[in-house]
């Protein structure tokens, strides 16, 4: 994924200011920044939920900005998005939640194929017995794992995580970190992870990008960031 000159305004406020980023294959990039820095805006621009005012986003060579809705749907089938609040459809069971993106895929799948893919996804997150449960019956950690299963069900090449461990206890948060790495290993995915959780950052990041004033302020590994003298970087590690 190559992002060049991405700019986004909300009214007169410039949230992203010619932001550049490259994400390589099988790489986890963590976007670090203060609340309101524009991290969620960035990943929503990538998935097409927000339209940037300027700039370019290319996913495997295909431009995302300014394309038709039909073309955008095709690009989206290669990108998974894990919402901060999970966004499980609360009127549907776990099985129906997982079947939902499969039934809307542009490649037609048989019921047998759908059932297999649902069970594979549930097995990946160790929740095989929850297929007929409703989201409200699940704990927060289980909901997060089902949401991750739904995100992964089409085996996307790129996954966008919006605060994957927010609101979870430390043990469950660590389980989610391990799941992110396990699925990356299994499906050779690249990821952009938005997180304030420094343990999640340490566990999952191949590279960290600090988003400051709408721009990429600094990039490096966790150990490079931890040892940095810059006050703006140090404040995240205090």
């Amino acid at each position: 994924m190559v992002i060049e000159g991405l700019t986004k305004y909300f009214g007169t406020r410039k949230v992203l200011d010619e932001f550049d980023l490259t994400v390589n294959e099988r790489e986890n990039v963590v976007i670090l920044g203060k609340s309101g820095a524009g991290k969620s805006v960035l990943i929503k621009c990538i998935i097409g939920l927000l339209v940037p005012d300027q700039g370019s986003i290319r996913v495997y060579g295909d431009e995302v900005v300014g394309i038709s809705e039909l073309e955008l749907d095709r690009v989206r089938s290669h990108i998974g998005f894990l919402f901060q609040g999970n966004a499980l459809y609360d009127s549907m069971s776990v099985r129906e939640n997982l079947e939902f993106p499969l039934r809307r895929h542009w490649i037609k799948l048989s019921q047998h194929e759908i059932d297999e893919m649902v069970m594979e996804s549930l097995t990946n997150v160790n929740l095989e017995n929850t297929a007929d449960m409703m989201p409200a019956e699940l704990s927060g950690g289980m909901q997060k794992r089902i949401a991750l299963a739904r995100t992964m069900i089409l085996k996307p090449k790129i996954i966008l995580y919006d605060e994957p461990t927010t609101g979870l206890d430390p043990v469950t948060a660590r389980d989610i970190d391990h799941l992110i790495l396990k699925l990356q290993e299994k499906y050779n995915t690249s990821s952009i992870i938005i997180s304030h959780d420094m343990k999640c950052v340490k566990n999952t990041a191949d590279r960290i990008v600090l988003l400051l004033d709408g721009k990429s302020y600094h990039q490096g590994t966790y150990s490079e960031f931890e040892g940095a003298e810059d006050e703006k970087i140090k404040q995240f590690f205090e």
Binding site: G48, L49, L70, F81, G85, F100
Partner: protein, 253 residues
């Protein structure tokens, strides 16, 4: 001035939102299963409430009119007069108002809750047109179900009227319906049914719009549900006002 501006902005937003209904992408899948599910929820599950209110209104209307008509010596015309009132106006308006309270508010709350919890965004990123899946299914289901509910409500209302007449005098069911149908024609029924078609569109479209534009979390969801009912109720009366002008012009009244 700011309230007027807000009202105009909201009206413009609602018209733009409703306009998407006409220009939806045909390439997107037809959500037949969801549409049938909405027909069940919107139509079948509303029947009990609509039936009950219809029966009570028929009974009350008859019992209120009976003494007045008897005073003027035209009590025998009671079945016909009640039937005309019910078929032309009371049945459609009452059913639509009950529908707005039940369905308009539930659509507004459901979609507002989905908006607040990013479920609508999740649908969009999974390759689903949320407008087609959530709005079009509900609007089309409402446009079909409300006229059907109105017909059923009218019939039950007439049943309530029969009970009301028999509370103070005696009339056979056969004579009652003979008098009812002697005064009714298609010019009474058809315009009334056509306007319920538009009532259904307005109620569900307003509910969906309020849900889609919900903000500020749970408080916003409550506001969406509430304002969906209020705005739908106003829209029902405005559509009714336009409908009566049209039927006057066509000399159907």
């Amino acid at each position: 001035m700011s309230k007027t501006k807000a009202l105009l902005e909201q009206t413009g937003g609602l018209v733009r939102f409703a306009g998407h209904f006409v220009v939806m992408r045909r390439q997107d899948r037809y959500e037949i299963k969801e549409f049938l599910s909405q027909c069940y929820t919107i139509g079948y599950l509303s029947f009990g409430l609509v039936g009950l209110t219809g029966f009570i209104m028929g009974l009350v209307l008859t019992m209120q009119l009976q003494p007045a008509l008897a005073r003027y010596g035209v009590a025998a015309e009671l079945p016909g007069m009640v039937a005309i009132a019910i078929i032309r106006e009371v049945g459609p308006i009452l059913t639509a108002l009950v529908f707005a309270g039940k369905i308009g508010s539930s659509i507004g709350a459901e979609l507002g809750s989905m908006k607040a919890s990013e479920q609508i965004d999740a649908m969009e990123v999974s390759g689903t047109n949320p407008y087609k899946y959530l709005v079009a299914t509900r609007v089309i289901a409402s446009m079909i179900m409300l006229p059907l509910l109105t017909i059923l409500s009218d019939a039950i209302c007439l049943g309530g009227s029969y009970v009301g007449i028999n509370a103070t005098s005696v009339i056979s069911l056969r004579l009652f319906f003979q008098k009812v149908f002697a005064h009714l024609s298609f010019e009474d029924l058809l315009p009334a049914l056509i306007k319920t078609f538009f009532f259904g569109f307005a109620i569900s479209m307003i509910g969906c719009y309020k849900g889609f534009t919900s903000c500020n979390g749970t408080r916003g969801v409550g506001n969406s549900a509430n304002s969906a009912v209020v705005l739908s109720s106003v829209a029902i009366f405005m559509i009714d006002l336009v409908a009566v002008q049209v039927t006057n012009l066509l000399r159907l009244n």
